[in-house]
């Protein structure tokens, strides 16, 4: 159902949009990635045009023992905006990139982050589903979810939740993903607003940004 490069602009949030003053309706861009994600997320962040000031939140699967700060440092090289792993209850700032810390689930509540050490979901902690579902609840039509490369099913239910709450669902074109299982699962779970090769996702985000102004 999802046309590649679909030009149909998702409804911009009407009345009641909390981010009113800033001129854009999309407040959070959520990115989920697993196998092959490091490079994919880096590419995506590098392509993000500077005028997109939404908060970017990344759930990248990683082992509990991954060195603290390493993922952030790697992504910082590609991103032209600050990258960090948030502390519990840290407020979301516009124009920042946040990555889920190792061995925690990262959740978003209204305006701030929350963490959890609950059991793995889809064998993962951080889990993309947990992050996306919390963002769907907190930001609804002001959220954009993006599922990238990966070898499992994580992110599918979360992306469906974002879509259900009126947000935008974007999936990396499975045939162009390093591992297609995760994008495939996401497409099976929801009708995406766009299915795109990695290189075209920043442009689509930009068109959403402009369309919402």
């Amino acid at each position: 159902m999802s046309g590649v490069g679909s030009t149909e602009p998702p409804r911009s949030a009407g009345a009641g949009s909390a981010g009113a003053g800033a001129g854009t309706s999309y407040e959070v861009i959520a990115i989920g990635a697993s196998w092959g994600g490091l490079q994919a997320v880096g590419t995506l962040l590098a392509g993000l045009s500077a005028d997109i000031d939404a908060t970017v939140v990344v759930a990248q699967h990683r082992g509990p023992e991954s060195s603290p700060g390493l993922l952030e440092a790697i992504l910082q090289r590609s991103a032209k905006r600050p990258v960090s792993a948030p502390d519990d209850k840290e407020p979301l700032e516009r124009g920042h990139v946040y990555v889920a810390p190792a061995d925690y689930h990262l959740l978003v509540e209204d305006g701030h982050f929350a963490l959890s050490t609950e059991s793995r979901v889809q064998h993962a902690r951080p889990s993309i589903d947990v992050l996306f579902e919390s963002i769907a609840n907190a930001y609804r039509e002001r959220a954009i979810g993006i599922v990238l490369t990966g070898l499992n099913q994580d992110g599918a239910a979360g992306l469906a939740a974002i879509k259900e709450q009126g947000g935008v669902a974007i999936v990396q074109d499975p045939s162009s993903a390093e591992r297609r299982a995760m994008p495939d699962a996401a497409l099976a779970a929801t009708s995406a607003d766009a299915v795109l090769p990695l290189a075209e996702i920043p442009g689509f985000l930009h068109s959403l940004h402009l369309g919402a102004m």
């Binding site: 948030p86 502390d87 519990d88 959740l107 929350a114 963490l115 609950e118 919390s134």
Partner: protein, 290 residues
């Protein structure tokens, strides 16, 4: 919020995002009901993870709505008991964040040695993994007789598990690795014996430990401590409740006492921040200075 003030508005169908608002109402009503019926106060828990836990219980009880769960919980204490476990068990691991235990050994143990007798409070000890980890560390530092651990949790059933000290055998591999990276000076396997599928930890480790029920949300300070460890417990609380607990800890700590938080927890957002200095910023070890 453009919610009509009275019922006179002819808005029979709720706004588009109606489902979400209904859920929020349901959660609030459920928590209020639990509080009034059973006295457990989850009203100031962080909503996102709370909602996940509620949904898990709903799935297990085969219920479709939070209101349905409310019905069951209010009329059947057995359901409440199960929900209480869902809401109050914090999943953790022995020697979680090994570098924390290295820092504790290097920076907190020397401070504890300066006291003839010291007390450590493990607040929100859940099933006891942190308690046994600290008890092992103190034993290896020869401090078992001079440092008493007070381990508290809101949930009596969980405390009972902590007292038993039996952890899943299939976790021992992970815990052994953690122990080694945490700077353990012995062989981890010396501390437990395998029994069926459980690892029974040595009773002598917790002989001096005081296990007691304590509710961080509603109970007051009960002793003066030289160190408090409360790692990954307050992440489930909302900001006002976190603030309440920080006041409780501040009140319970001796001057120059140590506060240990989880690796991604901070007192940066607390008005009490200025009462502490960082002993080890990365490991979230704070020292009360005023």
């Amino acid at each position: 919020m453009d919610v009509p003030r009275d019922g006179s508005k002819d808005r029979l169908s709720p706004p588009r995002s109606g489902d979400e608002d209904v859920q929020r109402i349901e959660v609030e009503l459920l928590l209020e009901g639990i509080y009034r019926r059973y006295g457990f106060d989850f009203r100031e828990y962080a909503p996102a993870s709370l909602r996940r836990r509620l949904r898990r219980r709903m799935d297990s009880e085969q219920l479709d709505t939070i209101s349905g769960l409310q019905d069951r919980v209010l009329h059947d204490p057995a359901v409440m008991e199960r929900l209480l476990l869902d809401l109050s068990i914090n999943v953790t691991a022995m020697f979680r964040d090994p570098t924390f235990f290295v820092a504790f050994r290097e920076r907190v143990v020397p401070l504890l040695r300066t006291y003839p007798f010291a007390r450590i409070w493990v607040a929100g000890c859940s099933t006891g993994e942190e308690v046994y980890s600290l008890a092992i560390l103190l034993a290896e530092e020869g401090l078992s007789d001079r440092v008493r651990i007070y381990a508290t949790d809101i949930n009596e059933a969980v405390l009972e598990l902590a007292r038993l000290g039996v952890f899943p055998l299939d976790k021992m591999r992970e815990y052994t690795q953690n122990y080694i990276r945490a700077g353990g000076t012995s062989a981890f396997s010396e501390y437990y014996v395998a029994r069926y599928d459980g690892a029974q930890f040595s009773r002598s480790l917790v002989e001096g430990v005081v296990f007691a029920q304590h509710n961080l949300a509603s109970d007051s300070a009960f002793n003066e401590f030289h160190a408090i460890s409360c790692r990954n417990v307050m992440i489930y609380f909302d900001r006002p409740l976190q603030e309440h607990v920080h006041r409780l800890f501040h009140e319970s700590l001796a001057t120059f006492g140590i506060l240990a938080l989880g690796q991604k927890e901070t007192i940066r957002f607390s008005p009490l921040e200025s009462c502490y200095e960082e002993l080890d910023a990365a490991e979230r070890l704070y020292r009360k200075v005023r």
